[in-house]
Symmetry: C2
Subunit: 270 residues, 2 copies
């Protein structure tokens, strides 16, 4: 079966270290959905007014809302969430004053990047040092979700993406005021790609053959992963035992992440 892929364009084509590049939906979506934070970049002003893009750390995830006949490989939408009064939400909404509307664009052009740091790669020379990582870069048009059912769907999905089953295990549905104060952005994706480095240290032959170098310098990988610790209850918490869906999630998440980082640390380069 052929994998569903994002089209390779001038915007997302990986030109260097092409063996690390990947365009299939599954790889991109996995990296984004399992990331603890997404970095979102956009131009707050016209370049003439202020030439700087900006970056916001945000939470989000991929979703498939109201797509009849959709399969797992159907193109999905990236949803982001935040407080409605933030600048990002103001300029994503169709207030009639946005520069992207004036320019005839279908939304605010943004870039979203998710990165996992999976290990420090210590080579014999600083030049060959590297990191094991997975990163996904997505370009798309951001607009504010106005349909309340879609907004509810996205908030449910994003909450469960942070911690499986948390939505059903919290006080839902949100009140009208809570829904009003929360903004959800949908991103129509125009291109996406992933880059993955997942193998042992690479060293030059000359360094390996020099006993003064290889005999003295340790080379290998320090695996790394985001570890979740034992939960710390709030002062007002009234539920004595930490629920199983939380402890199980932590256990599985840590196990998976640790295993991945350790496994790739000794893997040979393809």
């Amino acid at each position: 079966m052929e994998e569903s892929q994002y089209p390779k364009t001038f915007r997302n084509a990986v030109n260097r270290l092409k063996d690390r590049a990947n365009y299939d939906h599954e790889t991109v979506h996995d990296i984004v959905d399992s990331a603890s934070v997404l970095h979102v970049s956009f131009m707050p002003s016209r370049m003439d007014d202020d030439p700087f893009p900006t970056i916001l750390p945000m939470l989000g995830g991929f979703g498939l809302y109201n797509a009849p006949g959709a399969t797992e490989s159907s193109p999905t939408t990236l949803y982001l969430h935040g407080h409605i009064s933030s600048r990002f939400f103001k300029i994503s909404s169709t207030s009639g004053k946005t520069t992207w509307e004036e320019d005839g664009l279908p939304g605010l052009p943004i870039c979203v990047c998710a990165t996992h740091m999976d290990g420090l790669v210590l080579a014999l020379t600083p030049f060959n040092h590297s990191t094991n990582y997975r990163s996904a870069v997505i370009h798309g048009y951001a607009t504010l979700v106005t349909d309340s059912a879609e907004k509810n769907y996205a908030l449910h999905m994003i909450t469960d993406n942070v911690l499986t089953d948390r939505w059903a295990n919290s006080r839902v549905p949100p009140t009208e005021a809570e829904m009003k104060a929360t903004g959800v952005i949908k991103v129509d994706i125009v291109s996406a790609s992933a880059k993955v480095r997942a193998y042992t240290a690479g060293n030059d032959k000359a360094d390996l053959e020099d006993p003064d170098v290889s005999g003295k310098i340790w080379t290998g990988v320090i695996p790394a992963f985001l570890k979740y610790e034992t939960p710390v209850p709030a002062k007002e918490n009234a539920v004595k035992e930490i629920p199983k869906y939380i402890t199980q999630w932590i256990e599985e998440k840590n196990k998976q992440a640790e295993e991945y980082a350790r496994t790739i640390a000794s893997r040979a380069k393809k």
Copy 2:
């Protein structure tokens, strides 16, 4: 003693949740220097040609090169490094064809963001869910470092920033070919700010007073930190024992990160 601060401008002023905002050098620099990865955003083309900014994950750190009389609180420079053939380095160099030169700017306008995820904040309602985090956002003009001594200084600093003392414990100095293939960017900072959330879950009175809510839903924080694991030697590694500067660094880094994440998880909101 007054702390050195970045000036508050329209670009970096935190408008929401101002209690989380911070502009002093120390906070910003600590967040950036201890981050495992930096996200760098820039406009690869003119907006008319392509309206999308892009993001690259990179390594870097703050440095003070050749600044006579400089003190710890002197304005420092942010250095980033990567392979010279990447698009970012091409458009940061003064090839005479860059759009920023045509526009009379002193460098490529970029934004750099460093984020630490320190914990998942589980409130009674999805709306009050949050994360403990530290993030720094920097705006500045990027140019390629051409002075070879400064480049050497920056590479040394960035390598040791990844792992203390690694530079001196690897095959240095780099060869001429290695230096040629490596690009170092310096960022002249025009604004910078940090945002930090570092406390327990916040809940609404109405939810806490409703036994159907507070009696059933666990609320608190799941601390999180980037954990470094036992190093995995490369197949060709010839140094039997893992050197102490590596094992000590891992131990200290993990201890510090874990303690921070756990301590703030039970801290009250100021």
